[in-house]
Structures are given as structure tokens and as C-alpha cells.
């Protein structure tokens, strides 16, 4: 087998394990469906009636659905590092690190697993959107584009979470930082209001926030008449590039989690 083939064989061994675990205990992933439902049913309905946020020709619910999808993936992914700390507190991590598997393959396996988790979660948000009358775009190419946005976004934020886990190393500190990070990442993005409405300083921050590019890609693919602030190429390039950089950093820090 080639080096690349072996790399992905090992990464997918990690993915396979994660899938077995989701199948055996789907309660965690099911409970993640509650939060997006609250946002869309409460926040979305109120804002739609208030007409407080200018979203051009799009109804506010249509505008917000891709943002809530990205948010639900973000909120799960950002706590992904917790499982790595758990594996360290057992001894699973140490054993994996002493195997001849490259650390980057272990980290990539986790990133891909998070991506698949994201896809499963997005089924709920799609179903919810459908029920609320959001104008969904069922064009196969658009659906594929949306899937790319979900997988890359989940892969990036889960790996970012792993980096934090490698730095703080304890569950308590990790939970604290995770809580502190989620809301700023969410609000400093175009998830529930367009960038053009933000003050300049916030616009700058939201333009370096990968969530913005994930939402942008989703907004152009998930709903009928959705428009993009950036181009498809920029969105994918930013998400993909950020994910690769995060994986490289995490692979370097990962062994340190064991000591």
C-alpha cells in the first residue's frame, strides 16, 4: 500500500470506530437537535415578524436557516476535544500514540468523523426548515455544495477544539474555554445577520472567522435565491485551508496531551 493509502486507511479506521459509537448510542446526537429548534421556532419567528434585520429579498427564516445549521454543527464540534481528554484520562490515547500510526492520521480521522456527525445533525435542521416553510434548494449540485460546507466546517472546528484540548489538558478548563468561545464565534459571523449590518470592527473579525465562510457557502447552496457575499472558490479555499492548517498544528500538539 502506498504511504497515502495507508494514511487514509488508518484515518478511516478511527472514523469507523466513531460511527460504531454513534450507532450504538444515538441519544447524544439526537439531543443536539433541540437547540437549533429553539433558535428557529423562537428567535427566527420573532425576528421575521419584527422585520428588524434587513435581508433583501429573502424572508428572514430563509436567511437564518443556513446560519442555524452552521451553528448547530459549530456547537457540537467545538466540544469535540473533550473526547480526546477523556481518551487521555483513560489510556487509549497513550496506546494510539505508541502505535506506528502517524499522529496526523489520527487527527484527520477525528476531523472526518466530526464531518460525518455534522451531516447527520444537518438532517434535523433540514427537516425543521422544511416544516417551517423555508424555501429549500433541492438541486443535487447545491446539496453537494452544502455537504462540503458542513463537513469542512465541522472538521475545522473539531480540530480547533482538539488544539485547545492539547493546550489545557483538563476537562474543567476545557469546558470553561469552550463556553467562552462559542458565542463570540457565533455572533462575530454572518449566521443571523448580514455582515453589512455590523460595525466596522466586527466586520473585520467576522471576515477572519471561518464560520462566516461556512455560512456563506451554505447560504448560496441550501436555500432558493440565496446569495453569496464571497465567491464559491473563496469559501471553499478558506475552509479547506483553515482545516489543513488546524490538522497540522493539532498533529504536532497531540503527543503532548499524553504527558
Amino acid at each position: 500500500m502506498t504511504l497515502v493509502g495507508r494514511f487514509f486507511m488508518k484515518a478511516f479506521a478511527i472514523v469507523e470506530v466513531e460511527m460504531i459509537k454513534i450507532r450504538r448510542d444515538p441519544t447524544e446526537i439526537l439531543s443536539r437537535a433541540i437547540q437549533p429548534a429553539l433558535w428557529m421556532l423562537v428567535f427566527g419567528q420573532v425576528m421575521q415578524h419584527a422585520k428588524a434585520i434587513q435581508t433583501g429579498k429573502l424572508a428572514y427564516m430563509d436567511f437564518m436557516a443556513p446560519g442555524i445549521l452552521a451553528q448547530s454543527v459549530l456547537f457540537t464540534s467545538i466540544f469535540y476535544g473533550l473526547s480526546a481528554i477523556w481518551e487521555r484520562d483513560l489510556g487509549i490515547l497513550q496506546k494510539y500514540l505508541v502505535s506506528p500510526t502517524p499522529r496526523s492520521a489520527l487527527v484527520t480521522g477525528k476531523a472526518i468523523s466530526a464531518g460525518i456527525r455534522g451531516l447527520i445533525q444537518s438532517l434535523f435542521v433540514y427537516a425543521l426548515s422544511l416544516a417551517l416553510g423555508v424555501q429549500l434548494n433541492w438541486n443535487p449540485v447545491s446539496l453537494l455544495g452544502g455537504m462540503v460546507a458542513i463537513v469542512l466546517g465541522a472538521a475545522f472546528f473539531s480540530t480547533f477544539s482538539l488544539i485547545i484540548a492539547c493546550i489545557v489538558k483538563s476537562r474543567e478548563r476545557f469546558m470553561g474555554i469552550g463556553q467562552v468561545l462559542t458565542m463570540p464565534l457565533f455572533f462575530a459571523s454572518n449566521a443571523i445577520y448580514p455582515i453589512s449590518m455590523m460595525p466596522t470592527w466586527l466586520q473585520v473579525i467576522s471576515k477572519v472567522n471561518p464560520l462566516t465562510y461556512q455560512v456563506d457557502l451554505l447560504r448560496s447552496t441550501m436555500i432558493v435565491g440565496g446569495t453569496q457575499a464571497f465567491s464559491l472558490g473563496v469559501d471553499i479555499a478558506v475552509l479547506f485551508g483553515a482545516t489543513i492548517v488546524a490538522i497540522l498544528i493539532a498533529a504536532r500538539l497531540y503527543p503532548g496531551l499524553a504527558s
Partner: protein, 265 residues
Amino acid sequence: MSLLETHSLTCAFDDLIAVDHVTFNVEKTEVFGLVGPNGAGKSTMIKVLTTLRRPTSGTAIICGHDITQNPAAVRSMIGYVPQMVSADGDLTARENLMLYSKLVDVPSGERKSRTLEALEFMNLADVADKRVRQFSGGMIRRLEIAQSMLHRPAMLFLDEPTVGLDPVARASVWEHIMQLRDTYQTTILLTTHMMEEVENLCTKIGIMNHGKMIAIGTASDLKTASGNPDATLDEVFIKFAGAEQATPGGFEQAARSRRTARRLG
């Protein structure tokens, strides 16, 4: 050439030298028992030898590969069973073995047969498809040792393999370790607190204290060196390791080993 040799191996933390210029060899097919009081540096020694932690200075050569120059090559030659529980409780024994066979480069055509062989070797064939969560402590340990042997490593590192096990489970784990050495000619380095285990089963013993290897030899060598050939190994240990002293990290270590014991028990 020895299978493992260390050269003035040293590993320092911010406030203490956990392994302090240690030089020793382990020969092929030897069962080397590393003993010493808590905080003596045994676990750090294992972490350095298994490439989990880089030495501050000095080095070790394992199976011809330098741990600082080529840690990846070392990792392909060794197996490791951490003190803590390293099998995944949410998976079955078979799934644990299949996963690990991929991570350690067992050829795809042989994964199933090696998994089966490992299950039979460790007397786990009839519980192969049960989740590990339901296993007893001794079964978990046997599964972990089976995992670490899938790629037929030349050398196996076991960090307190019998901690927290009752006498029956302990005897069974030991029996399987010895069987494994006889079948595959595996060289073994392990740490333990059980002097009778060391006496009956290890071909060579190293006593560590304060990061240094203070005595090394067979059980009878050590007894003679202690000045009393009729001493028990416990007495020899106390003589070499001295009275109990407060060592840093004691609280965390105690908490951790009791947690492991609770999980296995």
C-alpha cells in the same frame, strides 16, 4: 547487541529529575522487572522508552533504533500496555482488536486471522463480541495485551499490568504473559509493586529510586548484594529504596492508580 540499551538516559521536569542518567541493558527474551517506590521514575522511564516523552539528554537504542533519532521506527517494533485502561469500553473485544490491527500495520489479509488467534490465545474467544464495558479487570488486561501483540513486536512494555487485580486474575494475566514470551520470543519490560511476582517471573530486576537505577541483577544477585542472601525480596527492596519519603506528584499518582484499580476491579 542487547535488544534495549540506554545511555545515560535523563528526563527532567521543571522541578525534578524523574530519570537521572540511567544506563542499563535488556537482552533478548529477558523479562525485566522494574521496581521502585512511587515517584522513583519508573513510569517516566517507560514513557521515554515508548517515545511518549522525549528524554532531556542521553538516549536509548531499542531493536537497533534510536528513540530520539527515529521514534517512528521504534514504535513499529514495540508494544505498549499503559497502566490505565486502554481498551475501548464501547467496543467489543473483536472490534478493539480489528481497529488496532489497522493502526499497527497488520496486512489487510491477516487482520481477521490475527484477531482470532489473539482472542484464542488470551482465552477471550467466547466473549469476542461482548462489549468490553462488561469485562472483568483481568479480561480487560488480557485483551489489552492481545492488542499490543497484534503486530508481533520484538519488545513489549507493560506498566503495572496487574495493578488492581485479584489473585486469580493476576495469576491468569501472568500465565498469559509468560506463554506469549515462550510462543513469540518477545522481550518484556514491566513495572510492578508485587515483589513475589518479580521474584518468580522476572529473569532480571532493576530497582529504581529518585530517578536512578540503584541495583540491577537476578533476584539472588540482589539478595547477595543487600548483604543477606536469605532476605526476602521485600526486605531487599526496603534496604535499597530506603524509608518512605514524600515525593512530589504523590497525590496525583495515588489518585490515578486507585482510579485504575477501581475501573479494573
